[in-house]
Amino acid sequence: MSVVALKPGYSGDMKDRVENFHGKQLLYIGWEDHLMYCAPLCIPIEGSTPFGALTTAVIPSLYPAHPDTGRINWDEVEWFRSGERFTPDPAQSLAANGLGHKASLRFRTPGLTGIKGSCT
């Protein structure tokens, strides 16, 4: 049963479907071992954005205050899509990299584990 309701067959509207975001989609971004920015971030972004734009512009702009931000070696970064390791193609769009609406993207920066190694 998908809901216990007074009216049989009750169905809810999909509040956050992609059509509601004015031509953009949502993307969630989380930096492993770095919890000073307390939670993964949520941004609206065009699905046609090339993945490479994330590393050159988007992600650094999200974490301006972290001392590790400037130290990231993007060639060594490990990427996770819905928790699964994957190798993105920077020339391809987010959509072509399998990052659709409300996709969860996590990245790990080997050697960087936050302030005093505390995963902050």
Partner: protein, 521 residues
């Protein structure tokens, strides 16, 4: 005396039991013009089977005459203290103005739930066909209205002196972190009447509210806030009646039909987890927001949930009920919950109607004593770094909106049960759409009733959809500042209500009006 004498012997005074029985059995009737199922259309669809409503017992056996008498006395006592507090300028006798921020959270986050509870119990009272159940729900509806009113009256005095208290109902319906308590209660109110009373009377009031009203209110007293303590304890004296009723409700449902047991267990699992997530706010109030502390969140959890809650669930094993699912996760989180929660509000306090701050050195020492396995290793470096940044004039704020849990609506800051350095991510796909959760507890609740939660009003998503601007706003206008506009929509006074405590108007006024430092020694 010239009074006429009564020829008959005076009637024997009724015992408590007889009195209660007349009220709850004698005054009800079965309808005959319309079938009972049409008059009470909402007490069957949840699958709960009731064979004999007369088995419902209110152990307090409170009758209306006693109810009005004692409630009236409580009110007189409460308002006498509130008057004395105001006349004595009690607001300046609290430890320091940081403390006031607990009241801002309380008024905007908890008081509207009292009002929601009033509505919820009025609806439950309408929908139960058993007379004693309806009377109990009616009394509770009146109690909850009293709580909402006394809290507004008491805290309104603080509104004359401190920021962020000016429009709590407007804020409750809009502000991102207040969608957590709001959606919690609306989830309960939009369920059937049996789930509602199980959720609120049992899981929330019996199992969890002691954590808010006992150590926190005692903490308010310790910090010199007699007004709050008084409304807190006055409300809680009603609450003990509600809690007792909560236990009786659950026992009554379980005894009526064996088929009710799995339904109730599922509700207990769900509402334990939902209530526990809500209490994350209380954990930081206890560990970070009370300048003088009574006990830590972890100690309170051990005392009020692990011991008292454990005893309660032992008592219910004879009905085939077990401890709520994921209670062990809650216990694993007790050494990190308050730190993770406070750090999150430190990130986003520029978009909140209360202030945050880095704990003082002496407070960090207390935190390391209370949390020896986690604080120094994981959280102290964070606070020390923030303190250094603040000293350089670069107070840290997080400029990007966070990912929220679809179910509890809290930013996804909770960490894996077995690893406090890894964010806990869970996701599911339903009708080709992805949904994300902070925990297995929240994901299970969604998976059980996805149709109920796919239309949750998630504040972050609503902002990005453009639904959190005042009417007439043009987001395409040059220089449009979305964050500033959202804060206007929330009804905040930008630059006064939120942000860092040190240097805030509250902190400055405190020094000017009391001559005491903004942070007590």
């Amino acid at each position: 005396m010239n009074m006429p004498t009564n020829p008959q012997k005076p009637a024997k005074k009724l015992s408590l039991k007889e009195n209660y029985s007349h009220l709850t059995r004698g005054l009800g009737w079965d309808t005959s013009y319309q079938p009972m199922d049409k008059v009470f259309p909402q007490d069957k669809f949840e699958g709960i089977k009731i064979h004999d409503w007369d088995k419902w017992e209110d152990p307090f056996r409170l009758t209306m005459d006693a109810y009005w008498k004692y409630q009236g006395e409580k009110e007189k006592k409460l308002y006498a203290i509130v008057d004395a507090f105001q006349q004595n300028n009690g607001q300046f006798n609290v430890t320091d103005a940081r403390y006031i921020n607990t009241l801002k959270l309380f008024l905007t986050g908890v008081s509207p739930l009292e009002y929601a509870a009033h509505r919820g119990f009025a609806m439950a009272g309408r929908n139960f066909r058993g007379t004693s159940a309806r009377i109990a729900a009616q009394m509770q509806a009146i109690d909850e209205l009293r709580h909402a009113q006394t809290q507004a009256h008491t805290i309104s005095h603080y509104n004359k002196f401190f920021n962020g208290l000016h429009d709590y109902t407007h804020m409750h319906d809009r502000v991102w972190y207040l969608s957590v308590p709001k959606s919690y209660f609306e989830d309960a109110m939009s369920a059937g009447p049996f789930e509602f009373v199980t959720a609120i009377s049992f899981s929330f009031e019996y199992v969890l509210t002691n954590l808010l009203f006992m150590p926190f209110m005692s903490g308010a007293a310790y910090n010199g806030d007699m007004a709050t303590v008084t409304f807190g304890f006055s409300a809680q004296s009603d609450e003990s009646r509600h809690m007792t009723l909560g236990l009786e409700v659950v026992k009554f449902i379980l005894e009526q039909d064996p088929g009710n047991v799995p339904i109730v267990q599922k509700w207990l699992d769900k509402w334990f987890w939902r209530g526990y997530r809500l209490l994350a706010l209380v954990s930081m109030m206890m560990d970070y927001m009370l300048p003088k502390r009574v006990m830590s969140w972890a100690e309170a959890w051990e005392m009020y949930f692990e011991q008292n809650g454990g005893a309660l669930f032992n008592d219910l094993t004879r009905y085939g009920i077990r401890m709520p699912k994921y209670h062990e996760v809650a216990s694993m989180e007790k050494h990190r919950l308050s730190h993770e929660t406070w750090a999150t509000f430190y990130n986003y306090t520029h978009a909140a109607a209360f202030h945050t701050w880095v704990p003082e050195e002496s407070e960090m020492k207390w935190l390391s004593e209370k949390y020896p396995t986690t604080f120094d290793k994981l959280y102290r470096p964070r606070f020390e770094h923030w303190r250094e940044q603040q000293a350089k004039g670069e107070r840290f704020y997080n400029g990007t909106l966070p990912m929220l849990c679809q179910l509890c609506q809290i930013p996804m800051f909770f960490t894996e049960p077995d690893d406090p350095t890894k964010i806990c991510y869970r996701e599911t796909t339903y009708r080709d759409e992805k949904f994300h959760f902070c925990s297995d507890g929240c994901k299970d609740i969604f998976d059980n009733e996805p149709e109920k939660y796919i239309h949750s009003w998630l504040p972050v998503h609503q902002i990005y959809q453009g639904n959190c601007f005042r009417p007439g706003t043009d987001p395409t206008a040059p220089g449009f500042d979305p964050l500033a506009e959202v804060l206007q929509y929330y009804g905040f006074h930008v630059g006064e209500d939120g942000g860092e405590y040190l240097g805030s108007p509250d902190a400055k006024n405190w020094k000017a009006w009391t001559g005491k430092p903004a942070v007590s020694e």
